[in-house]
């Protein structure tokens, strides 16, 4: 039971990234014979087809790839940014820190979703815009976490002792302090992947994310809205997948937190 979320995420990964190696599975291919009339799940189409006769299972797997890509790349971006700024603020304190942290407060107060909507409607909507915008609007939480950790780890004796050995500032920060700030970062990054996937779905649902004919869970949902009654499988499948993925990632981050805490207890 505990392993279920891991298995689920692993399966989504393998299926979505492995699919491109299997010939004949094309998310954009449609069956002209079935167009206009969505088919209910059958042996041939286990999750049914949509109104253009495209296989929902194949599209879901292909959409998973895009969702995971957006989630992971944008979180890597925001984590790198957040950790760097956090280390800077925590180590140097003083005026630099005060200015940057007030800026962080302002950025945190901005409604991210609307910002993304504006940017996506100004420029041609693209998946990379989504990644960059999510990355650039979600690093502040990490900064706060890292800064707080640095402020506390700075006082620890091994840092003072390393300083007394004449070790340079960059080594002190990146080698000796960074590893001690990472436990909360790992937890928040895992959570971040889930929320980035949600943001991507919302954008695609609004037609501002992944553009057809490419599949994403969000734009599959969008397409299913007018057919909710006749073809419920079209909305249920991507909806359940989004929920399961985000839920699994949240559980994963919870496990990470517990594991990291245990480790810390052993060390100290």
């Amino acid at each position: 039971m505990r392993r279920l979320p891991y298995l689920y995420i692993l399966a989504v990964f393998i299926l979505s990234f492995g699919m491109s190696f299997i010939p004949g599975l094309d998310a954009t291919r449609f069956d002209p014979l079935l167009a206009g009339q969505p088919q209910a799940p059958s042996l041939h189409h286990p999750f049914g087809t949509d109104d253009l006769g495209r296989d929902v299972l194949v599209r879901s797997i292909s959409g998973a790839k895009i969702s995971l890509l957006v989630g992971i790349v944008s979180v890597v971006l925001s984590t790198v940014l957040g950790v760097s700024v956090g280390l800077l603020c925590g180590y140097f304190e003083g005026v630099t820190d005060a200015i940057i942290m007030r800026l962080v407060d302002v950025l945190m107060a901005l409604p991210t979703l609307f910002l993304i909507l504006i940017i996506q409607s100004l420029w041609k909507p693209s998946i990379w815009n989504v990644v960059i915008v999510i990355g650039l609007t979600s690093w502040m939480g990490t900064t706060r976490l890292v800064r707080a950790e640095v402020l506390s780890v700075k006082q620890r004796l091994f840092i003072i002792s390393a300083k007394a050995r004449g070790i340079s500032t960059s080594r002190l920060v990146f080698k000796h302090m960074l590893p001690h700030t990472l436990s909360p970062v790992i937890v928040s990054a895992t959570l971040g992947v889930g929320s980035a996937i949600l943001t991507e779905s919302v954008l695609s649902f609004l037609g501002l994310g992944v553009q057809p004919p490419y599949a994403s869970w969000g734009n599959m949902l969008e397409r299913s809205v007018p057919l909710m009654n006749e073809a419920p499988w079209m909305s249920i499948v991507p909806g359940v997948l989004i929920t399961l993925t985000v839920l699994s990632l949240n559980v994963l981050s919870d496990h990470a937190r517990a594991a990291l805490n245990k480790k810390e207890r052993v060390v100290s």
Binding site: E93, G94, Q155, R156, L157, F158, I160, S161, A162, K163, A164, R165, G166, I167, S168, T169, R171, K175, H176, P179, H180, V267, S268
Partner: protein
């Protein structure tokens, strides 16, 4: 070539209060000597040690001067300090386990230090590290190098810290209660090791301790601190035989002796060390001093030379001026 501290004061301010942890102290550490610094917890011993290395947090306000080889190191930039830290002055702590980064192996931290200070390749640094571990008597040195700090006992950790510090060949070693958390037998080993290494490397040592036995056995000169002030300094042999300041007398009387009976309770000072937020008027020791008289609460005694040492007590200075 020595350390000369003149009129050093260190204060911390927080929430509108200013606490003076070290108040106008002056002392010298000549070459190849061991100077002992004693006092109760909170007397400012560690703050003194940290200010000599300029390692106090930025909130600390320092004044006075710290001359190292004639150069005032107070207010030097971080880069300038880095050339002094380690290669000129080394620091070891009371809690050696906490002084090593738990996420890196001991070898990693030693090699890092050796590469930095001796300008050698990593492979050569590893050999030097193994030699040093053997010198501080850690068995299976080559194997132990890859172990993490928590896999060592406290005594071993302290020897590791000494080995790391010695790899930088400092001219002055500041040992902040190096044996306080160790067993007596291990304590003896560490002190012997420090003495041997001092001879071998021509170091001077500032030995901080609250253990008067340790100080008496190892030091050439002894400084007694109370609430941030130096109150007596001189040769340990003389101070032990004939302590002049009532506080030094009390410290020496408090050493438990195996020959006294259990009923003969050793002299215990009344009260606690006062809060540095509300310092007593006059002599800081007067509320606890068994020999205090009216003048003590009014005027602060200065550290004055008395028979080959320095004491800050009216009784001591009076006694000598009367006998003159």
């Amino acid at each position: 070539m020595s350390l000369k501290v003149e009129n050093l004061s260190v204060s911390f301010s927080s929430g509108g209060h200013t606490v003076t942890a070290v108040d106008h102290i002056s002392f010298e550490i000549p070459d190849k000597t061991i100077v002992g610094l004693v006092g109760e917890s909170g007397s400012g011993k560690s703050v003194t040690a940290m200010s000599v290395m300029q390692l106090l947090p930025p909130q600390a306000v320092l004044s006075g001067s710290i001359l190292w080889k004639g150069q005032n190191i107070m207010g030097l930039s971080n880069t300038q300090l880095r050339s002094i830290r380690g290669s000129e002055m080394g620091l070891i702590f009371q809690n050696p386990l906490a002084a090593l980064n738990p996420v890196f192996s001991v070898g990693n931290q030693m090699i890092e230090t050796i590469v930095l200070h001796q300008n050698v390749s990593t492979a050569r640094a590893r050999d030097i590290a193994i030699e040093l571990l053997q010198k501080v008597q850690i068995p299976d040195a080559a194997l132990r190098l890859d172990h993490y700090p928590h896999q060592f006992s406290l005594g071993m950790c302290q020897r590791l810290m000494i080995a790391i510090t010695l790899s930088m060949r400092p001219k002055l070693l500041i040992a902040d209660e190096p044996t306080a958390s160790l067993d007596v037998t291990v304590q003896a080993q560490i002190l012997t090791l420090l003495n041997d290494l001092k001879e071998e490397l021509d170091m001077s040592i500032l030995l901080i301790s609250h253990d008067l036995g340790v100080i008496a056995q190892n030091c050439d000169e002894m400084l007694v601190m109370y609430l941030g002030k130096l109150i007596e300094k001189g040769k340990p042999s003389e101070l032990f035989k004939h302590p002049m300041h009532p506080y030094t007398q009390a410290l020496i009387a408090a050493i438990p002796s195996p020959f006294s009976k259990r009923s003969e309770v050793t002299h215990v000072l009344k009260g606690d060390i006062p809060s540095p937020l509300h310092l007593p008027s006059g002599c800081r020791f007067h509320p606890r001093c068994p020999k205090a008289f009216a003048l003590c609460s009014e005027k602060e005694p200065r550290l004055e030379p008395v028979c080959g040492r320095e004491v800050a007590c009216f009784l001591a200075t009076e006694a000598t001026s009367n006998s003159r």
